[in-house]
Symmetry: C2
Subunit: 160 residues, 2 copies
DNA sequence: TCAGTGGTGTTATGAGATAACATCACATGC
DNA sequence: GCATGTGATGTTATCTCATAACACCACTGA
């Protein structure tokens, strides 16, 4: 984050009620699909939702235990892999961080706007990759998943 | 790479003459710009050009010495940072690898098509990010650089 | 009851990247 | 020539990110 600006305030995390609701929805949906929404998976998703911005894996590991005890790395990485597979979270490769999915859509390749100053991110919807799809078709590639991450400044940091 | 297919042949590395020419061009251009194209930087660029596909940083480190001696990590990472800053190489975040720029354009945000089977990559030109630019403007973000990486299968691996 | 499957706990290690500091090369101005 | 500033390198150590491997457990269906 910020080399140049020092105000780390963006829209901020969702309320506890928002987190609860999202967790409940996710649990219900996955259970209905026959998936097992276990305690570790719920906990990691809860941490991601509560953060409201990208979180480093080792921060999740540190915050994992409600009593302050950290988790073992594989516990969190396994949960992240599951959540990502199920479309509930995304890995942001350019900053090696993870974020809860903010889109209602189930199966999607997300694109992100990332503020290098305050860390705010915005998940934007699909059509951003239409040009990429065209290029892939032209080159004869069959695309499975895409990583689209734009770095810059968010409106708040631009205004400051 | 490949879980599913086992033919690691794509267009393959450029000839030694191609590499030499590209190195000479890069050297001339940067020298003209007042930059110092040092031995380490040339060597790393040579390794990237010769590979003709993304290379892991620690592979560059291992191959660095012409006598088989590895480099120290900072040597290679500094060279990579310089080459990337000058538009001669790109980092591919989704696979933590580096590749020589295959575009003539000087200052550009590249997009990549990456074959998960054989490792081939294709650098495709700018307009793929037009949708992203539109989304960024709509959200009020000022974009500085983008990471666009599409994973899938190349034509050769699809045919097999 | 007994496999088979998928999830977890735990230890250890592999892979990717950088901090910090001393030293060196080179250009500029005296 | 010689001081001085700047950018590049050498070197050591360390930090961050991620996974391998294996034992154990819970649930399911024969
Ligand atoms: Zn999403
Ligand atoms: Zn911001
Ligand atoms: Zn390029
Ligand atoms: Zn291929």
């Amino acid at each position: 984050m910020g080399e140049a600006c020092h105000h780390h305030h963006h829209d901020g995390p969702p309320t506890a009620a928002d987190v609860e609701r999202a967790l409940g929805d996710a649990d219900a949906r996955l259970t209905a699909e026959g998936e097992r929404m276990t305690a570790a998976r719920l906990r990691v998703l809860e941490l991601l939702l509560a953060a409201g911005e990208p979180v480093k894996a080792y921060d999740l590991i540190a915050r994992f235990g409600t009593d302050g005890q950290p988790a073992k790395p594989p516990t969190v990485y396994r949960a992240l892999e599951f959540l990502e597979r199920k479309g509930l979270a995304h890995r942001i490769a350019s900053i090696s961080a993870y974020v809860a999915c903010s889109s209602g859509t189930i199966d999607h390749s997300a694109a992100f706007l990332i503020c290098d100053c305050c860390g705010a991110t915005e998940e934007v919807a699909a059509p951003v990759a239409e040009g990429l799809d065209r290029a892939a078709r032209a080159a004869g590639y069959a695309i499975v998943r895409t990583t689209v991450e734009a770095h810059g400044r968010c409106p708040a940091c631009l205004a400051a």
